[in-house]
Structures are given as C-alpha cells and as structure tokens.
Symmetry: C2
Subunit: 407 residues, 2 copies
Amino acid sequence: MKAVGLIVEYNPFHNGHYYHLQTSREAADADVVICVMSGYFLQRGEPALLPRRERTEMALQGGADLVVELPYIFSSQHADWFARGAVSILDQLGAGSVCFGSEQGSIEPFLNLFDFLQARRTEYGRRIREYSSLGYSFPKAASLSFQHMAPGAHLPDLSQPNNILGYFYTKAVNELGSSMRLQTIQRMTAGYHDDQLSGTDISSATSIRRRLIGNTGAPETVEQALPAPAYRYLRNYLHSGSPLFEWEKYFPYLQAKALTLPASWLEEIYEAEEGLHHRMQSVMKRNSTFHEFMHAFKTKRYTWTRLQRFATHVLTGTSKAEAAAAMETGQADHIRLLGMNKTGQAYLNTIKKQVDIPMISSLPKDKTPQQKLDEKAAAAYYLPLPPDERRDRWRSEYEQPPLFFES
Amino acid sequence: MKAVGLIVEYNPFHNGHYYHLQTSREAADADVVICVMSGYFLQRGEPALLPRRERTEMALQGGADLVVELPYIFSSQHADWFARGAVSILDQLGAGSVCFGSEQGSIEPFLNLFDFLQARRTEYGRRIREYSSLGYSFPKAASLSFQHMAPGAHLPDLSQPNNILGYFYTKAVNELGSSMRLQTIQRMTAGYHDDQLSGTDISSATSIRRRLIGNTGAPETVEQALPAPAYRYLRNYLHSGSPLFEWEKYFPYLQAKALTLPASWLEEIYEAEEGLHHRMQSVMKRNSTFHEFMHAFKTKRYTWTRLQRFATHVLTGTSKAEAAAAMETGQADHIRLLGMNKTGQAYLNTIKKQVDIPMISSLPKDKTPQQKLDEKAAAAYYLPLPPDERRDRWRSEYEQPPLFFES
C-alpha cells in the first residue's frame, strides 16, 4: 500500500484542508493518507481550538485514513523542529512521500534553496546574526539575508509562512536521510468547487477561528468555509455546550504561573532568554486580557508567535531541561495513534513490524521525555473545563483507544 | 500611651474575637489595642475568607486601634514561626504586653512549660522523634511526650490548639528577649452578653466559615455569631456580589501548578519533603474538588493543616530558597500598616522613631525577602476574581494607603 504523509493542525478542518488532502492523495497516487496532527498546542503558540479527539474525527471525515499525533515538543516549536518531528514520524510510518501546501506551489525552488543553503550555510548564519543584531525578527532577518545573498534566484519567497515550513520539511527529509519524496501543492485561495463543501469560501484557519471566537455558539458564521461534515460536527459540538479552547480562557492560569514562580525558575522555562521572563512578570499584572498582555509584551525583537510559544511553555511548565531531554534524539521517540479508518488500520498492519519506536494509543505509566511533556500539555490544555470534565479528559489520556472511523 | 498586642486572623471577626479584644484592653489597662493580622493565607493553610482590607475594617469596627499585617512567611506557618513573626512585630511596635486567648486561661502554666522545656529540651526532642517515627503527627507526638515526661504536672494541655499557640508566644517572647508581658484570657465558650453583639452565639470561626461557604449569599445563618457592625459589613459585602475566598475556588490553579511544574521543581517548594510532591502529583488528577483531593492526599504521618500549608506554598510558588531568605533574620523585616483610628494614629506618632524596621503601607519597588513573598501571595490570593477586579486588587498592593477608621 502506498502512503502519502501530510503535516497538519486542522484548527479547525476547513475547505482548504479538504482540498489539500484530496489533491495530495491524487498527486501521490496514494492508497493511504496519513496525517501527523499537532495535539494540544500549536506552532503559533496557541491552544488548539478544539480538543485532539474532535479534530481527529473531523480529519477522518474529511478523508484521512490514519491520524497520529505530533508531540508537544515539536508542535509548539519554530519551523525547524516542527518539521523535523513531523517528518521523522512520517518516515517511521513508511510514507512514500510528504506533500505540503505552499504559496510557491512547485517543489524545485525548495530543493534549490536547500542546496544553496548547504553550500553557503556559514555566510547565511552570519547574515542572520547581523540582521538579528539590528533588531529584526528571525523571519525578517532570513528574508533580508536571501535578498542579499541571492537576488533574483529561483527560490521560494520566505516571507510566506507556508514556504518557510516547506523549506524546513525539505531540510528535515534530507537531514534525516529519509527516502520520502517531497511534493508540494499550491494553496488554494479561491474558486474550488466540490459537492462536499458547504460553500466556496476559502478562508484561512485564522479568520475562521476569529469568527468562531468572536461569535461563540454561532457556528453559522463559518458554515461557508467548512466541508459539510466538518461543519455539522462543529455545530453539534458547540450546541452541546462544549467550549472553544482559546488563549483568553488560559490567561488567569498564565498569570498564576508567571506571577508566583520564583523569577529564577521562570528563567528556566524553555525559550526564556534575554530577560523575557522579567518582562513577562512586569507587564503581566497590569493587563486583564491575554490580548492586552501580548500587546504590552511584544517587542520588535521577537515575533508575536515566538512570544506566544514562550507563554505556552510557561503555561505547560516546560523547562529547558525537559525540552532538551525531549529533543535529544532529534526525532519523535514514539508515535501516538489518534484515529483511523479500515484503510488506515490495514496499512498499520502492513508496516507495524518496521516501526522501531513505540506505537501507543494512550499514555503509558513509564513515559518517554516527549510523553512527559505531552502529559503536562494535556494537564494544561483541559484546565478551562468544569472540574468533572477536566478530570475525565485527563483520565482519557491513559485509557482512551484510538478513534475508529466507519466510513 | 500603653498598648496591648493581639495576634489575630479574624476569619471572620466574630463574637469571641470581640470579647477577646475588649477583655484584653481591660486586662492590660491599655490605651491602644494593636492587632497583628494575617494577610492572605492563614495558619491552617487556607485563604482568608475575606480580603485583608475587609477584615481590617471589621477589626477597627470591633475596637482595634491599629491593624498591621503578619507577613505571609509567618502567617502560613507552623506555630513556632507564626508566633515568632507576630511577637517580633508587636515588640517593634512597643506593645507593653501580648494578650492571647487560650483554653488554659491562666499564664503560669505556660511559663512553667517554657521553663520545663528549656531544662529538658534534648529529651523532649528525642521523644518527639520517637513518636514521629511511629507515625504520629507532630501535635500528637508532642502531647504523648509530655504525658510521658511530666505526668500530672501543672502544664497547659497541648492537645488544645490555642494552648499550643500560647506556648509558642511564650517561647517567642523569651527567645526574642522582649520585655513584653505575657497575658492570657480564657476563650469564651458561652453566655457572654454585650449589646454590640447580635446574639449570644459563640461559634468558632471554623463553624462560621462552614455555614457561610455552605450558604453563599445567605449571611443570615451567621448573624447570631457576629457583632452587629461586623454582621452588617459582611452582609453588604456579600449582597454586593463579592466572593468568599475559599480553597475550592483555587483548586484549578493548584492543579495547574502541581501537574505542570517539573517534579524536581515541585520538590523545591517550601515544606515539600519525603516525596510529598510525588504524592500530590499522583492524586491531583483523579479528583475534581479540593476536598476530595485532600482526603486522597492525607496520610497519618501529616496533619491536614500541614498538608494544606504545603498546598498553599505550591499555590503561591514559595520555594525553599525564598522561604529561607525570608526567615533568615528570624523576625519580621518590615511592618505593613493596614488600618487605624485616631488613637492608633496618635500612638504610631509616639513610637515611630523607635521602630527600626521599615514601616510601609503599600509594597515598594525594591522588596525585602518577606515582601517578595507577600507580593506573590497577593497575586495568588486574588486569582478567583474576575479579570478587571483582580488587576485592580493587585494594583492596590502598590498604591492603597492604610484604611483610616472614623469611629
């Protein structure tokens, strides 16, 4: 069986994701679509709007055959480690290719870029440091370095977020020595039609989240942007009174952490550097919403995303030592199965003997460094729930089997 | 002006407190009653039911002339340090005597006990350790040691909680070399009449809290147990929608802390010992209320109070290193003025030049070790409030002048 791997957040699953999933299956001529999906906290340093279980269900409805988790240490990371974790899992699962969406839309520029940087890594590193020392954020410094080093070269535009990720997928496949083929699909921006879609609205996940959070309990505002099954699922979820998980609901917990941990401990949280922890403590008290706090916390030197990731690590209590332990092998130390259909199950049976890291469905008693962080991320993630539901969700981390989807 | 010092929690101010306050003034023939009052978290390891400001108001209404704060490092401590901190403040403020309520009711047995233990400290320490190693809690081990060492001696019964505190007040006055006279008043249990009292109900603060928490918004259930002004004040507080601060409201924050801090950090929380932090982490997830959690956490080896204090230190993020720094001098490192009337103000003017630790009304920018912990305790204490009120209460730590009471 031939498998294609997708690296996803599905926050939430929308028309663009559906398009990417179906088109990837065709482009790779694959029997099986494997999704590596971020669990609790995402690359932008945000909680996932819906729990993992619900997002898994939506992915399976949308055509995924097998959904596995990207552990916390990779899911809430800059693009380099995010890509490395996800690619290592797809490689372990025997995917023949990894197919990512990009603004670029063709794969050669990514391969060119990788070769270019292999050859001129030292100079690139030096330029990044120079621009950073002038106060530019990392993405801006990277973009300026390229403009300087290779003006006019046929390279992907790295000011586009999905091109950046695409580059790091390319890098990870090469550095991990994977035989997976790299493919990319141009991100759909408008005009795609399919009868499974509720409408032709191709909205970004960001704008969908904004509409949902701003109109809690009124999913109609996003109906046009989601495939019909995903929309029905989301509507039922909200109508049953289940919450959207978003930063504002975590803000009191972030305050509790940041204002009561000894400063010397806060400094030992992963991604604390250059006095960020002092800055966090000093602005934390004066604001009554997360949004206000972030505006006060933001500096030119760090991206919003970078600062949100630091806030996430404070919330989940991820120390530098724990992060270092979880990153030590440079790859996923386990694969957690979240959901599958019959095709995914059959595929798993064909490859499971070749997977040489543990495949689990719920957390074991003795945890790997990455599982320890996943356990803490789950503890933090479910805090906004009422006490009994919180306890039940925590328990399911240890007991719940993967979701089986009868298509 | 002659001052008598009282060491109080007023959680909340009730008929028994009123009796103690008035009787102490008479017994000491004092012009001024000074109350050293615990701030946010109390000796039993609980949040104060009402904020400091409100309890100060009730104390002034009840006859106190000057109310100052017992810093967190002493207020949430076993009796030895609790007494030491409070006595050091009264001594600094020039009180002529300290007058405590006790089950015993006369002072000689306390003085006898102090002399007895001075003489036989080594044997006493050995016996305590022996009984402790058999699994007895500290109070029980102390009581058994006395029964063994001095059967029938005229010593206070140390199975009574206020006698234990009385002993430690006696010890602190002696060890600090204070010239304050020690006095005690038998705790009133029934039958005292005064027209300022709403009724003749002499209830313990514990039973009053239980009735209030069990019937939030229905202060009538405690009307008979409070002086009329205190009752009116409490009723207005509750009718305006202000909350009672009790452990259940902090439980999600305790869970957040205990389940996301690295185990090696939780072990560095003050009063973590012998694997208590592991035990806390392992039972924390399985319970959905603080009360359930405490039942699961409790062992024969530790008192409920001792375990609640540990939970309090987790909530406030008080590390062993911070606690050690705050306890280094063995005395209060500042005096925080919470409230006064004209008499209290006049008294302050007569003694302020002799006070050789800083007297403050709000927190300064550069904080002493004890003030650092008070700041964190305030951050934790106000967490259950809605965001804007929380922010305003935090701000008042830095800006609010002491309460002035026009009697």
